[in-house]
Chain length 234, copies 2
């Protein structure tokens, strides 16, 4: 049974890294002392070691040991033995390229379908969708495919931002970008605002956190869903 | 001799489509009555016909006829015969995919190197760089390559936005995104604010418009250049 959290962000404004979601992390990873960290998204180009250290500090607060996947000689084997996994944010193109290069995209997908407790934030959530095509990130490397884990039956747009009515900027709003996505793709998109996350247990996918989320379906007006809503698409 | 304009945006706040840059367009296209329009970036998913109609209206104000490249049976031949070309903004991934699919990326590059007067706005400017890897757009389609025209020896970030000191949003700023690009790539990047453009004549590349531009080079602090500056990298 799938058992995962996809969070919009690692950090909410004014907070510390992962602190707003500590209780949910503790619940998700309650059956393991050790969690594997997937550091490949490298926010700001941070090294795998530095990133693991930062994330490990947050995990130590719930009494868990976090071990970087990059420290294993055989990451595939490490994933197979894992009792929990967390993928941090950063650049989704860099992350997806690394998962393909290391040939762990498909094994990670299988592990999650088989019940591996998994948490993603930002880019780490993006990859849970059908494709990474609704990321906000710059295409700083060229991945072999935009297809991602597909452990949820839609795409995410993390860090979802509402249009600013006072903006004088003429670049596309997030909503316009997602509308453009739907001129080329049929996959629904959930705009997750910072502080929101999805809690997936088996086939149930529930919106959590205090905020609403914005749902984009091809050929429909975007609409809002409340926290506590179970997300279903037919 | 190269002869082109790469503009940050088609439209400045409070203005009409292309109106702020009319005089420069008239000067660039002074030797032709007809300009070819490359409509493939499809902003908001607009059809090629609708987009051509919109752009043609702006070109009619300077007495030029704009003809959509999509209306030719042989776009390659049309490009070879063109005396001027304009690529409008929209989604850079969609645009680049179309240029590769139609096999006109390389011919367009050659035409510009051979002196074809060319103007790009937003995505149409982005493709003038070495790669499209500093676009702001969503990867809504998967292009066969991120490599673009390379008619200027650096990359552009159109619609460049300064960090908002009052923002409570935790997503990456534009500056952070470009810094991440430079963890993977050595190509300099010019952040062009809306209302700025580059005027390229042969090997001279001059910043125009009223605003400064922000320059990002790998391993250096970003810095500002004034309008009228000739851009050179060694």
């Amino acid at each position: 049974m799938k058992n995962l959290i996809t969070a919009s962000t690692s950090t909410v404004y004014g907070g510390e890294y992962l602190d707003y979601i500590t209780d949910e992390m503790a619940e998700l990873f309650k059956d393991t002392e050790e969690v594997i960290f997937i550091p490949y998204a490298r926010p700001g180009g941070i090294s795998h070691d530095e990133y693991t250290e930062k994330a490990a500090k947050a995990f130590s607060k719930i009494g868990k040991k976090l071990v970087g996947l990059h420290t294993f000689d055989n990451p595939l084997e490490a994933l197979k033995n894992a009792k929990g996994a967390f993928t941090g944010g950063g650049n989704t193109f860099v992350l997806v390229s690394a998962l393909y290069r290391l040939e762990i995209m498909q094994p990670l997908r299988e592990a999650i379908f088989n019940g591996l407790p998994y948490m993603g934030t930002s880019a780490g959530s993006n990859i849970c969708g059908v494709s990474m095509q609704t990321t906000n990130d710059m295409p700083i490397v060229y991945p072999p495919s935009f297809k991602t884990l597909g452990v949820i039956p839609f795409n995410l747009n993390p860090h979802y931002l509402d249009p600013d009515p006072n903006s004088k900027h003429m670049g596309e709003t997030r909503e316009t970008r997602i509308a453009e996505f739907h001129t080329q793709n049929t996959i629904p998109v959930i705009g997750l605002r910072e502080g929101s996350w999805l809690r997936v247990k088996g086939d149930e996918i529930m919106l959590k956190g205090e905020l609403k989320a914005r749902v984009f379906e091809q050929g429909k007006e975007p609409y809002e869903v409340k926290s506590g809503t179970s997300l279903k698409f037919h």
